[in-house]
Amino acid sequence: MQADDLEISGTKQAVTTARKAGFVACDHCGLVYRPAAGTCTRCGNALHSRAPLSLQRTTAWLLAGLIAYVPANIYPMLLTSTLFEKQESTILGGVVDLVHHGAYGIAFIVFVASVVIPIGKFLAIAYLLLAVGRHRALNAHQRHLMLEVVEFIGRWSMIDVFVVAILSALVQLDTVATINPGIAAVSFALSVVFTMLAAQSFDPRLIWDGNEAGK
């Protein structure tokens, strides 16, 4: 059975898709329609065989995320002023400071959350965009998994923003010690939001279309 075939991941067996059969499922409520365009009569959601302009939107969000990521790294993330000195630390500067202080664990977490994951997301989404409609080394199933991981992990990149938010709220001891968020905190948060939107805008069905085309 074809349905059984779908259970087995990574196989390149022929699958009759809804699109091929001329059906459209409502993204929202799941009701299946025959024509390829219109509005769901049950929930009022727009019906699309494939999300319209998905690639454009994903590309746009990705670019926005990339642009926002630049100031996030250039400008200071934390403005620390203590009795003795004022310090402005960027994301990477903070990581280096942490390493100097011997806090390798925290440095690793911050580095992964603020550098590795965002950049990985950019690369992953860019790869998915480029892979649409082409045959790639990674098969459709792997790419789908990649998209799911990107969508899942996206929210965890916010860990740096949370740290800044909590520190800023807690450490307000006037002249003794004060921590304020810098421009980079906002930029970074925006960058994370944009990449999450990029991942969401990507219609995973396009991956499978490519699979079909590649076959």
Binding site: A21, G22, F23, V24, L31, V32, Y33, R34, P35, A37, G38, T39, C40, T41, R42, L47, P52, L53, Q56, R57, A60, W61, L63, A64, I67, A68, V70, P71, L83, F84, E85, K86, E88, I183, L190, F194, L197, S201
Partner: protein, 579 residues
């Protein structure tokens, strides 16, 4: 299979056609993000200010990106990077200065590093102990030509660019007492400050930049003299010993004071040079040197030693200083076979001091001096101070001297005739006096004086003495009568009878003297009685009172004895003549 599915029929809406349907609105987001980013980038680039470079000897405490440049304690820039000069001899600190002040930083701006500092004047820069050092800038409020390279100064300038006053340069032979920041004091009020003394290029003088604040700058004129008040001044001159301490601060840090000693000075411009004199006296004396052109040069020749006379010794006329000794030279005079050495003292006399007024000319003074000399003016060496042996030249008027004239023909300067001072033996006499005083056996003298006084007191108190005195008086009266007769007679004829009378008088004295042993006996008894009295009288107060009375009597006696002795010494005849 598809046919069996009963799919729902969607509601068909007309799809919008056109650009919007083909291009997602989401593109606006990256475009907007890019625009904002570029905008921010451009703004921060244009706002980032001007980079200036400041050279320092070292960059102790300067941290890149942290150390601030401050102007009037407001941060106007941050250190961007620190590098070395090409030859590694200096450190170049690049500072990004905010745009709105960058225009004011022109070539005369000054920069220095503020560090904690402890000095006599107090502690400064204490805040930098915690916050770290910062660079302080100082510049005027005028926009000038942009400069990019500055040379930092070691310490804060003592005078800001906008403080009003006058900058002067003080020159002294050494700078051992002065420290940067030492005050300039005028009549006890601090009116300015001096900077660190520096050696001149040739190394033979010390130059100190100083600043006198407005409105006191008007006090500085071309006639102003500066002198050092550092430490304390101990002068030992003709006026005796003088100790002068200006203030505790000047004792530690040094200081300079000034005074306009003569009127008629003209205002001075900034940067004018003033010498620092060692003391007020030197500053005052400098007035003579300054008016050297107007000083009358004469000379005086002296025989014998002029030890104690030095260049700079005073020349006095009727006790007032009119000039000073300029130099001392020796001249050899040949009179026949003999050659004598005479000492010539060059004198410089201020014409104005001779009573001719401030603007007296040299020729007028010389004329006056010539007149004086013809009336008996002479130069004479006089001791100014017995202890130091300091000599001065005194112009004395001795009308009884042999007439002399001011030797106008002498070369190189006219010579004032001089008289010998009995100085040579004066010192010797003084020495002899001291020796004799030293040789006095003071203690023995006092002891014997006490003995004598004791005896006298006993004698005076005794009845015998009381009875003796009238007799003596009678005798003396008789003797006087005899002498009077003698005097009146005047002739030798009466001498014999007078002698006879004298004999009688002598006899009477003998009789009186005959009583003396008895008197001595009585004295012994008296002493014994006194002893018993002393033993019986325990009350000290009474004894002391008695003793005091006795002593007073004794001193009166001694007083009269002394006057008697003086009279006798002065006029021995009076004993005989009764006058």
């Amino acid at each position: 299979m598809n046919e069996h599915i009963n799919a729902a029929e969607p509601e068909i809406r007309p799809t919008r056609q056109g650009l919007l349907s083909r291009i997602s609105l989401v593109w606006l987001v990256p475009v907007l993000a890019l625009a904002i980013s570029l905008g921010v980038a451009w703004q921060s680039y244009s706002d980032r200010g001007v980079l200036i470079e400041i050279e320092f000897d070292n960059a102790a405490g300067i941290e890149t990106g942290k150390t601030e440049l401050k102007y009037r304690d407001v941060s106007v820039g941050t250190v961007e990077h620190v590098t070395f000069s090409d030859d590694l001899s200096r450190v170049i600190v690049a500072v990004r200065v905010e745009n709105d002040v960058a225009g004011f930083i022109d070539a005369d701006a000054q920069f220095w590093i503020v560090r904690p500092q402890v000095s006599v004047r107090g502690i400064s820069g204490l805040g930098t102990v915690l916050s770290g050092v910062y660079i302080n800038g100082s510049w005027d409020a005028k926009i000038g030509a942009r400069a990019e390279r500055f040379s930092g100064i070691g310490n804060a300038p003592l005078v800001g660019p906008d403080s009003r006053g006058i900058s002067i340069v003080l020159r002294s032979r050494n700078g051992n007492q002065l420290a940067a920041g030492a005050p300039i004091v005028y009549k006890g009020i601090r009116v300015g400050v001096i900077e660190a003394p520096v050696l001149t290029a040739s190394g033979n003088a010390v130059i100190t930049n100083a600043f006198v604040e407005a409105p006191y700058d008007a006090l500085v004129t071309s006639a102003t003299r500066f002198w050092d008040t550092s430490g304390f001044e101990l002068s030992f001159g003709a006026g005796g010993v003088k100790l002068n301490v200006e203030s505790l601060a000047s004792l530690v840090e040094g200081g300079v004071t000034f005074e306009t000693l003569v009127s008629g000075g003209s205002p001075v411009n900034s940067g004018v040079y003033f010498p620092i004199y060692e003391s007020e006296a030197a500053a005052r004396n400098s007035l003579f040197q300054d008016q050297e052109a107007d000083l009358l040069s004469v000379a005086a020749e002296f025989d014998g030693s002029v030890g104690g006379l030095v260049a700079g010794s005073e020349v006095r006329f009727r006790g007032i200083k009119v000039g000073e000794v300029a130099d001392l030279t020796m001249t050899v005079e040949r009179t026949g076979i003999h050659r004598t050495v005479r000492l010539r003292a060059g004198l410089q006399i201020r014409p104005g001091s001779l009573g001719l007024g401030q603007d007296a000319t040299k020729s007028a003074a010389l004329g006056l001096l010539r007149d004086y000399v013809s009336q008996g003016l002479r130069a004479r060496l006089t001791s100014a101070n017995i202890l130091t042996g300091e000599l001065i030249v005194e112009l004395v008027e001795l009308p009884d001297e042999q007439p002399a004239v001011l030797d106008m023909t002498a070369k190189p300067v006219p010579i004032i005739p001089s008289v010998d001072a009995n100085l040579s033996d004066f010192n010797a006499t003084a020495e002899g006096v001291f020796k004799r005083i030293n040789a006095l056996k003071v203690e023995e003298l006092i002891a014997s004086a006490i003995d004598v006084l004791n005896n006298v007191s006993g004698l005076v108190a005794s009845d015998g003495a009381k009875s003796v005195l009238p007799e003596l008086t009678g005798t003396l009266t008789e003797a006087r009568l005899v002498l009077a007769e003698l005097r009146e007679a005047g002739a030798g004829a009466k001498v014999n009878s007078a002698l006879t009378s004298a004999e009688g008088a002598a006899k009477a004295v003998e009789i009186a003297a005959g009583k003396l042993p008895a008197l001595a006996e009585q004295l012994a008894k008296l002493t014994a009685r006194t002893e018993t009295v002393l033993a019986s009288y325990g009350e000290k107060s009474r004894l002391i009172a008695t003793a005091l009375d006795t002593l007073r009597d004794i001193s009166e006696t001694a007083e009269s004895l002394k006057s008697l002795a003086r009279t006798i010494q002065r006029n021995p005849n009076s004993l005989l003549l009764g006058r």
